[in-house]
């Protein structure tokens, strides 16, 4: 485990402070109630861009900060605490795809914009409601792409999509601008009120320079990194859900006792704390593993994601239960945490998916 350096500690603290002060859960509530149909908060995104966070994993040569994946994880955790509706995670995943895709023209076209938050990116790699990136029916024939990607997170706001498609029988990745003719996006009203879209490609002419190098191997690496980011986001969400709940246990009275004095609740809180600490270790180690260029990143990604899914599931359920009736009301934030948690769990492989994957990776 690598200890944080001074700059990382500053970054973590400033992201935490910014989220708590400038992007509280109430900002998300307003966004949801605004009925604009926007699944992200443009003002918050503007601030995030000003602080340079979209550039954290973009190379300096392309205008980024090149500050490492662990650093990005610190920011994602901090923002997720208050459910900040930002496309930071997707943008970072897309930047990774382009950087690793070893494509000079795509790098020059997109990375500087991504680094400054001027372009938004999204991963369009699933064609089913359940995560299954190996199933690819989208196909490029004679230079034209047809097919459909489902439940693309940040798909409506995206300027560039990383799309998986079959080309000559192999899975290949492409960075496709959403302005291209033939792309039809259908916004979805999801439970978490965030930006999600179905995206249809109807004979979309594909510029050969859009193709990234690496094929299926690239896909695996990009998804692993996105999964680790998602685990960091879940960890931030769960950590805040837990802390909010513990605070409630200290102020709510029943039967003349603060309910936090009831030992059954104390032990359940202690269990949550234990799980959060165990998960934190996995998330941190997985982020470090990216920074260190570790080979074993598939396993670490599945370890982090499985732990994060289980802990987030546990904590969001307990958040509602321990708040009692008030947690069931829309007026309280608990529902937001629960809904966002389930969407994140479903996104890049749930706990069962990653248990299965862990077993396969370990050959049993």
């Amino acid at each position: 485990m690598i200890a944080l350096n001074e700059e990382q500690i500053m970054l973590r603290d400033s992201a935490y402070d910014w989220a708590q002060e400038c992007s509280p859960v109430n900002a998300f509530r307003k966004l949801r109630d605004s009925q604009t149909g926007l699944g992200y908060d443009p003002e918050a995104w503007h601030h995030i861009a000003e602080m340079g966070w979209p550039g954290i994993v973009v190379p300096e040569s392309q205008g980024g900060l090149e500050f490492g994946h662990r650093s990005l994880g610190l920011v994602l955790e901090a923002l997720a605490r208050t459910l900040t509706a930002s496309p930071l995670l997707s943008c970072a995943a897309v930047a990774n795809a382009i950087v690793l895709g070893d494509n000079q023209s795509m790098s020059e076209e997109w990375l500087p914009k991504l680094a400054l938050g001027e372009a938004i990116g999204a991963l369009a790699c699933d064609e089913t409601a359940r995560h299954n990136p190996e199933r690819v029916s989208c196909e490029i024939k004679d230079g034209y792409l047809s097919g459909k990607k489902l439940f693309v997170h940040e798909g409506n706001a995206a300027d560039v999509l990383i799309v998986t498609a079959k080309l000559n029988g192999n899975i290949e990745l492409f960075a496709i601008p959403t302005t291209t003719k033939g792309i039809k996006r259908t916004p979805l009203d999801m439970s978490d009120s965030r930006d999600t879209a179905h995206i249809e490609f109807d004979s979309v002419a594909i510029d050969p320079t859009w193709q990234l190098k690496g094929g299926k191997l690239l896909l695996t690496t990009v998804l692993n990194r996105a999964r680790i980011y998602a685990a960091a986001e879940m960890q931030g969400l769960a950590r805040q859900a837990f802390e909010t709940t513990v605070e409630y246990l200290k102020v709510r009275s029943q039967y003349g006792q603060l309910i936090g004095a009831f030992q059954a609740l104390q032990h359940r809180a202690a269990k949550m704390f234990t799980e959060l600490e165990l998960t934190q270790s996995c998330v941190d180690a997985a982020l470090d593993a990216i920074d260190e260029g570790d080979e074993n990143i598939s396993e670490m990604a599945s370890v982090a994601q499985m732990m994060a899914c289980e802990t987030t599931n546990l904590v969001t359920n307990e958040m509602i239960q321990m708040h009692g009736g008030v947690g069931m009301t829309d007026e309280h934030d608990a529902g937001f945490y629960l809904k966002r948690a389930r969407v994140l769990e479903a996104w890049l492989g749930n706990a069962a998916f990653h248990r299965e994957r862990f077993a396969v990776l370990n050959a049993f």
Partner: protein
């Protein structure tokens, strides 16, 4: 017991009653109401059916005729229910009235019973319950709504919460504090006309978007003294009776444990997750958890059948039931993936949207009507006889 009652069914008197009911129903039940959805809004047809059944006394078939009941024996009720079911008809008076009616019959003065019961039966007065308060949830007796005695009656001030059906009700029975110096012994049970000035009803929006409950805000609501049910400061006894009736009603009806819309979890999984050549779900981990869930559901249903009524059973069923319901909901959204996490729109079927909403609403199963924790407290203290904490000296 079974044998005896089936013999009675053959008896001529019962058969006469059955035919009489059948005839009356065929003349009076509006066939349009055989579709459950048609009953949801208060149409003329719905009112007409309620009035007809109410005047017949069949809404509360076991009640004495003088209070608007049918004066039926249990066996006769069974025949009535069979005949209702046969043609898709239904009893137009809800559980809330059925339950509160028992309390009113038990604790009401003759005047209260004569005035209220027939109106309840005919659906003129429909009732809601004002028990919980924001500061008094599991610890109901901690309630604070003030009832100040004045020469004109009691002046009520305070707030109630988690009242279901408040928007469709015109009367509310409330627990109020008539003595602030004692806890349980300072509570009275009072009947409040919701049209009294100062009585405000606000729906509460829940995390699934529905608003089945309301908050009640009472500001200087004046209630005649004769509207106290039972004795002043003895309201806790009445409340316990009411809750006991409610619990028994809920525990003996499977509805209390909720259901998930759409096909069963197994078919849902086979459809959305897929099966291998041997017909097994391809997600082996999920398959195992579904099997475990279905076994537990079977255990629950068998327990429901086996168990004699009583506090142990009620608590066991309440917790096992909410656990099973919530597990089924979690499994359902897991099976559907993103498709089970929609809020609205054409991209989702009605069943899919309902599954998500039901998942969200179902989180209340372990909170409402005696939380998970309360049930475990009941089991450990009352049933297992585990000791109370001693005060530290």
């Amino acid at each position: 017991m079974e044998e005896l009652s089936s013999r009675t069914e053959q008896a001529p008197v019962a058969e006469d009653l059955r035919l009489a009911i059948r005839e009356w129903l065929s003349e009076n039940f509006p066939p349009a109401l055989a579709v459950p959805a048609a009953r949801e809004t208060e149409t003329e047809l719905v009112k007409q059916w309620r009035t007809a059944m109410g005047e017949k006394g069949w809404c509360m078939p076991t009640w004495p005729k003088q209070y608007g009941g049918g004066g039926f024996s249990k066996e006769e009720v069974r025949i009535l229910n069979q005949e209702l079911e046969r043609i898709g008809a239904y009893n137009p008076v809800g559980t809330r009235e059925t339950v509160f009616g028992e309390t009113l019959k038990h604790y009401g003065t003759e005047e209260q019973k004569s005035y209220h019961l027939p109106k309840m039966v005919r659906g003129e007065f429909s009732w809601c319950q004002g028990f919980s308060e924001p500061g008094a949830g599991s610890d109901l007796a901690g309630l604070q709504m003030k009832a100040e005695e004045t020469p004109e009656g009691y002046l009520l001030n305070g707030q109630k919460i988690w009242t279901s059906g408040a928007t469709e009700s015109n009367w509310c029975f409330c627990l109020v504090r008539t003595d602030t110096t004692r806890k349980h012994d300072g509570i009275s049970f009072i009947l409040v006309d919701m049209n009294t000035p100062g009585f405000e009803v606000r729906p509460i929006r829940l995390i699934d978007g529905s608003s089945p409950f309301c908050e009640l805000f009472l500001t200087d609501v004046l209630v005649p003294k004769e509207n106290i049910l039972g004795e002043v400061n003895k309201g806790w006894e009445v409340a316990k009776f009411q809750l006991q009736v409610e619990r028994t009603t809920v525990a003996t009806s499977k509805k209390g444990h909720g259901s998930i819309p759409g096909p069963g979890i197994k078919d849902l999984a086979c459809e959305h997750v897929g099966t291998d050549d041997a017909g097994r779900l391809v997600d082996a981990d999920l398959r195992s958890r579904i099997a475990s869930h279905l076994v537990k559901e079977k255990a629950f249903n068998l327990t429901f059948k086996r168990a004699a009524a009583g506090p142990a059973v009620a608590s066991v069923l309440k917790n096992a039931g909410s656990d099973i319901r919530q597990t089924r909901a979690e499994l359902s959204i897991e099976v559907l993936g993103h498709q089970g996490l929609g809020w609205s729109g054409d991209a989702f079927t009605e069943d899919e949207l309902a599954i998500n909403k039901s998942f969200l609403f179902g989180k209340s199963a372990s909170i409402a009507a005696g939380s998970f924790e309360i049930q475990y407290n009941i089991l450990s203290k009352r049933i297992l006889g585990l000791p109370e904490m001693k005060s530290k000296v």
